[in-house]
């Protein structure tokens, strides 16, 4: 018995040690670092909550929070709803062959790097030579400055994220749909339920865990998204697409204000934790009938 206990610990030890070094200790250091100001020379000085006051009263910081939240509101619901619709459509396809072809097509964007995706979209969005504006021209509409205008830059970026994530969420929904026993629908139809009633009373409630899951994953993804913004607008025009993560990157690795960056890092950690917990509690309750 004792040999087994030791063996078990021995098996998990490498992973535990690794995650401690790469995540736990740095996380603790981020927390600590947010209370110290580091001079360019390397000396650091304890400043209490001064950096928190500095960052959290900075209007630029709140601007990036607003941008991030706006991006979140534009892409998360859209991705989830579209993914559900696509999954329902794919689930209805009779030909298994075509179902797998279209599933793969929807999933394709998820498998490539966000950098490549963002650059191709930037080309599609190009104000002068972009195919999207050519298309608008054919419809008799004026060209738009997708990534260059203050109003359009966030929706345009959100669309790239939706495109990139749609297939992932679709797969999750599709797998769940396929796991619903057909008898449930038979029973519902014997009880005289129509299509919409079946969707509302059988499908949606049974998909609830996946919907919560997708919502949480998408919020985390869109909150942390960096590649698409960095590869295209770099936060511009005039900081209109500067997100919290972009600000963190700039603060730490462009301006080397590591203390300020640690405050932002703590902010990101705490807000994601709260968002996830709140969502979890809110939606989990609805599953229990």
């Amino acid at each position: 018995m004792d040999r087994q206990r030791r063996a078990g610990l021995f098996f998990v030890l490498p992973a535990v040690a690794y995650f401690t070094c790469v995540f736990l200790i740095p996380l603790a250091e981020s927390l600590l670092g947010s209370f110290y100001r580091t001079q360019p020379g390397g000396a650091s000085q304890f400043v209490g909550s001064r950096l928190y006051v500095k960052v959290l009263t900075d209007p630029t910081f709140w601007q990036t929070v607003r941008n991030t939240v706006t991006l979140l509101f534009m892409s998360v619901p859209l991705t989830a709803v579209l993914a559900l619709a696509v999954a329902l459509g794919l689930h209805r396809l009779v030909s298994l062959r075509w179902r797998s072809v279209w599933t793969a097509t929807y999933f394709l964007p998820f498998s490539v790097s966000l950098v490549a995706a963002a650059l191709v979209w930037q080309w599609i969005y190009d104000p002068v030579y972009g195919v999207l504006n050519h298309l608008l021209g054919h419809l008799g509409l004026p060209p738009l400055k997708w990534l260059q205008s203050l109003d359009l830059v966030l929706p345009s970026l959100a669309l790239i994220n939706v495109w990139a994530r749609l297939g992932f969420d679709t797969l999750i929904f599709l797998a769940a749909l396929q796991a619903i026993p057909g008898e449930y629908y038979e029973a519902a139809s014997i009880d005289g339920a129509g299509r919409w009633q079946m969707f509302g009373r059988v499908t949606l409630p049974l998909l609830n865990p996946q919907i919560v899951m997708v919502a949480i994953l998408e919020i985390i993804f869109n909150f942390k998204v960096f590649d698409t913004v960095y590869a295209t607008t770099q936060g511009g025009p005039a900081s209109a697409s500067q997100t919290v993560i972009m600000l963190l990157y700039d603060t730490a690795f462009k301006f080397f204000r590591l203390g300020d960056a640690s405050v932002i890092a703590v902010f990101v950690f705490v807000s994601l934790l709260l968002l996830t917990l709140v969502q979890w509690r809110l939606f989990r309750r609805q599953v229990e009938y």
Binding site: A15, W121, W123, I172
Partner: protein, 274 residues
């Protein structure tokens, strides 16, 4: 006949959506075969003048050490996939089949790391890599990518399904604990191992944030950084950018198309088990 008509509408909508989703790939491929005057032509022509014009591809490799970028990415992604597989399988076995004090706390502690966004630990991690003199090295890029939480989770789920009787039988036959792991457990979870290797390779290949932080010199760049470097000019030559993009995504696209089953499994695993 009402149902047949409905089905046709569904098929049409699914196909239309699929084509829209696919369009950027088509557009990327087509643009990569055009010259600069061609991409600036008004009115726009969809097809390139010459379908066999691969000048942009040649230019991509001439202007930047793009072959080197690809090699760097391949190396980093392979090491991260293999090391992740090894450590995750060990941990998955330990968590699934052994009882020891603190097991559940450790396991949920690791799962809890999913809640920690990488960006929250990036500054201390950068300072550590710097202190250890690993900036601008393969070891530096690999540092946070050697094991993934998802891997531990996936392997634990898979190994839990292995009948404990097999393991007990091997133990009675006098096998060492590691020998049992290697000869009994691992062979029975091959599908999960394939899934993990493939998905981890793709993830590391596609990563941008951390390489951007630790890499400075051109010859250490990975392919995502190489791609970005084509845009650091006043006028973005999209014919080159798209050619570079095609080159950079070909390996992962190939892996995805060949191993679709395993990738799908990974996604479903991460979704079904909240």
């Amino acid at each position: 006949m009402k149902n047949g008509w409905r089905h046709l509408v569904v098929v049409g909508l699914v196909a239309a959506g699929g084509l829209v989703v696919f369009f950027p790939f088509f557009w990327m491929a087509v643009t990569s075969l055009k010259t600069v005057p061609e991409i600036q032509r008004i009115p726009l022509r969809v097809a390139p003048d010459r379908w066999t014009n691969f000048d942009n591809y040649r230019e991509v490799f001439q202007r930047q050490p793009f072959g080197r970028f690809m090699l760097n990415s391949a190396l980093v992604a392979s090491v991260s996939a293999v090391s992740s597989l090894l450590v995750s399988s060990l941990a998955g076995y330990g968590f699934a089949k052994f009882r020891f004090p603190g097991r559940d706390i450790l396991f949920f502690g690791i799962i809890g790391i999913l809640m920690v966004p990488f960006q929250s630990v990036v500054v201390p991690l950068y300072l550590w890599v710097n202190r250890l003199g690993l900036l601008d090295t393969y070891a530096g890029i690999l540092a946070p990518d050697l094991v993934s939480v998802f891997g531990v989770f996936l392997m634990r789920q898979a190994i839990e399904m292995v009948p404990t009787d097999y393991i007990e039988a091997a133990r009675i036959d006098g096998g060492s604990e590691f020998g049992i792991f290697w000869r009994v457990v691992l062979p029975s979870v091959a599908p999960a191992m394939a899934t993990l290797v493939i998905i981890k390779f793709m993830w590391t290949w596609n990563e941008l944030f951390w390489p951007l932080v630790v890499i400075n010199s051109p010859e250490m760049k990975v392919v995502t950084l190489g791609l970005v470097s084509f845009t650091n000019m006043y006028f973005i030559e999209y014919n080159l950018v798209t050619a570079a993009a095609v080159v950079s995504i070909l390996p992962v696209l190939a892996i995805f198309l060949l191993c679709q089953r395993w990738v799908v499994r990974a996604v479903v695993m991460s979704g079904l088990k909240g």
